[in-house]
């Protein structure tokens, strides 16, 4: 198993190094699909420049990274490319370990899904800090699967600190850890509550420590509205691949708050029903949560999509139950190609307008929703087949078809 890993690593590093050195890097770093106002490298550099000028980076509306990121790059700004490459590779290795621990079958074909995924490569070359968030999430998943509750809580707190939304991942983490400790999810069991309390304490404690640390680094709470307020209230309508930008650019002013709440709740809303439905399968729940976050978050980039897509090889056993994977992959590929084309038509040549780009983001999101729901369907169907057998028969002995009722 080590040989393919090494090969993939070498190839991945070569690809990234070549792109970093080529003129494409600047082009990629400007792409709205790859970087968002939240994680653009240009804005990190701007934040550092503001810090050098003696201006608080949060006094303006350009910089929205967390204080820890700015202090990280305060020291690493000259080694940014290496940092992003390392974060990209580390998340790959983590995911690789994950795959090994999850599926025993050899799946060499799929291990390079994350590392050679063009979305990941683009995100890494653009030096989007999304790569760092992905690495943290990957570490969180690994520590959860390695049954280390403390590390899991710390990494979860870190990723929550970076971009709020991963807070929904606490449900699968708790479910997984409970499952591994053979504690039933039952409200009448004291040990269940005891574990829940422990995990909550570790999670909230580390979150508290991180937030206070950021406060002491900058000496002010300015970063809270500038980072989390920015994520939740979506003031920056720069086009991206998500659903928010055009919707809120065209929104009637008096409905803005209402729809903002509806759209933001949408991300957190699925946690409880999904956890109930998938309480036996926390790893799939993690996948579902990541997908929901990346579809419905306020400033999504292709880096977020790459993260949940890297899980797809784990569910290779579901492929026979997928209904429209061909259509969906075609749409996703076509959309990925059309994004730059329609962007060029709108922004540069002026021969199209914003609706063109918007239409593509809509289609792209529909395709993502179909992909996720298809995998969910396949997963549920497989569970059914595991219980009732693969070839179902009707009462009269003829071949039966399975429907959702």
């Amino acid at each position: 198993m080590a040989a393919p890993l090494t090969v993939v690593l070498i190839v991945a590093v070569t690809v990234r190094a070549c792109l970093f050195r080529s003129s494409l890097a600047d082009l990629i770093a400007e792409r709205v699909e790859v970087v968002s106002p939240l994680n653009a490298w240009k804005r990190v550099v701007e934040g550092l420049a503001l810090l050098d000028l003696g201006v608080s980076p949060y006094s303006g509306d350009v910089f929205h990274e967390t204080p820890l990121i700015i202090y990280l790059f305060h020291f690493l700004v000259d080694y940014a490319e290496i940092t992003f490459m390392v974060s990209s590779l580390s998340s790959h290795i983590v995911l690789y370990c994950l795959l090994l621990s999850l599926i025993v079958t050899s799946c060499c074909l799929f291990v390079d899904r994350y590392l050679l995924n063009p979305f990941t490569v683009l995100s890494c070359v653009a030096k989007s800090t999304c790569g760092l968030n992905n690495a943290i999430v990957a570490l969180f998943i690994l520590s959860t699967i390695k049954k280390n509750a403390l590390l899991s809580a710390i990494f979860l707190a870190l990723s929550t600190y970076q971009s709020i939304y991963p807070v929904t991942l606490c449900a699968p983490a708790v479910l997984y850890l409970l499952q591994r400790q053979y504690i039933p999810v039952n409200v009448r069991w004291a040990s269940f509550w005891w574990f829940l309390l422990q995990y909550a304490f570790m999670y909230l404690g580390s979150l508290f420590v991180i937030i206070c640390l950021s406060f002491f680094l900058l000496g002010s709470w300015d970063y809270l509205p500038s980072v989390y307020g920015f994520i939740l209230s979506v003031p920056d309508l720069t086009p991206n691949i998500g659903l928010f930008w055009y919707f809120f650019a065209e929104m009637f002013e008096h409905f803005r708050l209402f729809f903002l709440c509806v759209f933001q709740i949408n991300v957190f809303f699925y946690t409880i029903p999904l956890s109930i439905k998938l309480k036996e399968h926390p790893v799939f729940l993690i996948f579902m949560q990541l997908a929901v976050i990346s579809i419905f978050k306020s400033y999504p980039t292709v880096g977020d999509i790459a993260l949940y897509m890297s899980f797809l090889p784990v569910w290779s056993h579901l492929h026979r139950f997928l209904r429209n994977i061909f259509l969906v992959s075609c749409v996703l590929l076509a959309c990925s190609a059309l994004f730059p084309v329609l962007w060029h038509l709108w922004i540069y040549s002026g021969s199209a307008n914003s609706n063109f780009y918007y239409a593509i983001t809509l289609l792209f999101n529909v395709a993502q929703i179909l992909l996720v729901s298809d995998y969910f369907y396949a997963f549920l169907r497989r569970e059914h087949h595991l219980t009732y057998g693969l070839y179902l028969k009707r009462k009269d002995g003829s071949e039966a078809t399975l429907v959702l009722k």
Partner: protein, 648 residues
């Protein structure tokens, strides 16, 4: 109506009655006070200012003095106390008596390009105190509307300008009063003001009403607090820029409705004096038009024992006679303004016309009629200029026709203009609607002296500046600014403010570039013509430019108004403020016609996501029990009706 009357000097009784008429008339137009006789104190100042007024006929002067002084004191006493007992109060109220003075001036500078630059300046000086809860209710020459604004909003300095067109420095040289295209307003508040932003908001709304301008569009998104570029021009040493507000509206259109209220602030209105020349149909048919109001406290004397408020109203206009004329290069007052001058404003202590003849010492370039032998030299903008002076307070200026129509006839178009030492221009580089780069070029044409300049840029929030991309280069080398004050923007709250101190090397071009990103706005935030683009106000460059000749540092000395606006601290340099072009930047626009469609479509996609997940979450898999086909079902219904057993 008063302007049409001529005062015969010899006839004493006619003079008395007529001037009384004029005075009461002006009192009505300026609407100063309730006491009609209060306004009859006009030439009181003339004895103190000496200079020009002593040249007036002695009969007239002596005629005015005694009657006038008495009336004045009576009024003051009446204003202070309600009982009118002159003998007791005369001595006490004489000290607190508000002394005011009005001067008017027109400078005409024939430009090398064939254009003519005319600059009007009107100055009202008033020795009073608006501050410290002092309720000023007695207004004479100073407009009451502005006086009330000053005292209500605790304004220490107020500068407002409305400009149509762009001043072409390289063709026309430096203007006497620089101003950016559109409207500009900057105000220093007294340090007693606690809520500066609130006061500023109210003030802009009030000024908007006074000047009939869209100053009410000044809000926090276009207001900045420059830290170094705008220092108080009057006295006072408070330089805490918390009390300074600066805003420009580069899109503001200036027209007649702004000129009319501006003219009404003059003591004589547009009925007498130089202001009769201001006919809007001519003033706005020009290449450049700028009108301004400057209010500041100034020293009365060199020791600064007494301070007074100065209201300076200026109007600068450049007539493009060469292209619009009939091929002849000649102009006259009548051709420019469609009026001639018949008298000075009776309330003015000095009323003069200066014609710049520096380039024309022997009359080889143009011919000036009627000729005058009164010459004046003034050091203005680092250069010693010679002017022909026409004193309108002297009757013989108007000649036998009793009207003055200055005429300049060009003889040759040769000769070159003195190139200004400092020049700046600005443009947006880049293509597409995503990013861009602002380039500011600053030219120092001085052959051997370098000098520092202060550059101020106020960029709206929707062009997101990236300060780390700021480069300053001169002569191909990096020129690091010695001072940078940068305030990043906040979306929908405040603009970017960039101020820096740059040393311009001699005979060089310094280029400042900074990249920006264009934001997509909410559809309601666009202007009604979004594809026209968005204006970015001019950069302001303030500099102490090395002077060719020694500057006059005595600020209190009697000088022509056009050379005395910016205080001069040292002899070797003079202060210049220049404005670059405003920028017009396109932003990406959403489709304004389909908010409903967008809301529906996006909600549909969210609903698809919700629906498919809901479907999978709430339902479970079951074996499908086959439904009979539709035809069979219909047939069974019919069979049941017929009472026949249904099909299997």
């Amino acid at each position: 109506m008063a302007a049409r009357r001529n005062i015969p000097v010899g006839l004493l009784f006619i003079l008395c009655s007529l001037t009384f008429l004029i005075a009461t008339n002006t009192h009505e137009t300026t609407s100063t006070s309730e006491h009609p006789d209060k306004a009859v104190n006009l030439p009181e100042k003339s004895t103190e200012t000496g200079g020009q007024t002593t040249e007036q006929p002695a009969v007239e002067e002596r005629q005015w003095e005694p009657t006038e002084f008495q009336e004045e004191t009576v009024n003051d006493a009446a204003a202070e106390k309600q009982d009118a007992t002159p003998p007791e109060t005369t001595t006490t109220s004489a000290g607190a008596h508000p002394k005011d003075d009005f001067q008017e001036e027109l400078v005409i500078r024939p430009l090398q390009s064939g254009d003519v630059y005319a600059s009007f300046q009107f100055r009202t000086l008033w020795e009073t105190d608006f501050m410290k809860g002092n309720k000023v209710s007695h207004y004479r020459l100073f407009p009451k509307s502005l006086g009330q604004v000053i005292s209500k909003f605790s304004v220490r300095e107020l500068h407002i300008s409305f400009t149509q067109g762009y001043w072409r420095t390289m063709q026309w040289g430096q203007p006497f009063m620089p101003s950016p295209p559109g409207a500009e307003l900057w105000v220093w508040f007294q340090d007693s003001v606690t809520d500066v932003d609130g006061t500023w908001k109210e003030l802009t709304n009030v000024l908007s009403g006074i000047f009939c301008a869209s100053l009410n569009f000044i809000d926090s998104t276009n207001t900045v607090q420059p830290s170094a570029s705008f220092k108080p021009l009057g006295i006072g040493n408070v330089t805490d820029h918390r009390f300074l507000r600066y805003a420009t509206l580069p899109r503001e259109i200036v027209c007649t409705e702004n000129l009319t209220p501006w003219k009404k602030l003059l003591p004589c209105g547009s009925k007498a004096g130089l202001a009769v020349l201001m006919k809007s149909e001519k003033l706005f048919h020009s290449s450049f038009h700028s009108q301004a109001v400057h209010i500041r406290p100034v020293c009365q004397d060199s020791e600064c024992t007494t301070t007074s408020w100065e209201l300076r109203q200026t109007l600068n206009v450049v007539f493009d006679l060469h292209t619009s004329g009939q091929g002849k290069r000649e102009w006259s007052l009548f051709k420019m303004f469609s009026r001639t001058l018949t008298e000075a404003c009776p309330l003015a202590s000095s009323s003069k016309i200066y014609i710049d003849i520096t380039d024309n010492p022997q009359g080889e370039q143009f011919e000036l009629t009627p000729a005058t032998h009164l010459l004046s030299q003034a050091v203005v903008l680092g250069d010693r200029r010679t002017f022909s002076v026409y004193d309108l307070t002297e009757a013989n200026t108007f000649g036998s026709m009793r009207s003055l129509n200055l005429l300049i006839r060009w003889k040759s178009s040769e000769g070159d203009m003195l190139r200004p030492l400092l020049h700046a221009e600005r443009y947006v580089a880049g293509y597409g609607l995503q990013t861009g780069e602002i380039h500011t070029l600053m030219y120092n044409y001085h052959p051997f002296r370098s000098f520092p300049i202060l550059l101020l840029d106020s960029v709206p929030w929707y062009l997101r500046l990236y300060i780390h991309t700021l480069t300053v280069t001169s002569k191909g080398k990096d020129n690091k600014p010695s001072y940078i004050h940068y305030q990043p923007s906040k979306d929908r709250v405040r603009p970017h403010l960039l101020e820096m101190l740059v040393q311009l090397p001699p005979n060089s071009v310094t280029e400042v570039t900074v990249q920006f990103e264009r934001a997509l706005l909410k559809w309601t935030e666009y202007t009604p013509d979004p594809n026209h683009g968005f204006y970015v106000g001019s950069s302001v460059i303030s500099a102490l430019v090395p002077s060719m000749v020694a500057m006059d540092t005595n600020n209190t000395k009697e000088r022509p108004l056009f050379s005395s606006f910016f205080p001069c601290k040292e002899e070797s340099s003079y202060f210049v403020r220049i404005y670059t072009e405003p920028l017009l930047v396109n932003l990406p626009t959403p489709d304004f016609s389909m908010p409903y469609n967008v809301i529906c479509l996006t909600c549909t996609v969210v609903a698809v996501g919700y629906g498919s997940l809901y479907n999978l979450l709430t339902r479970s898999f079951q074996i499908e029990e086959p439904n009979p086909r539709l035809a069979k079902r219909i047939a069974n219904v019919i069979r049941r009706l017929r009472g026949v057993p249904p099909l299997a």
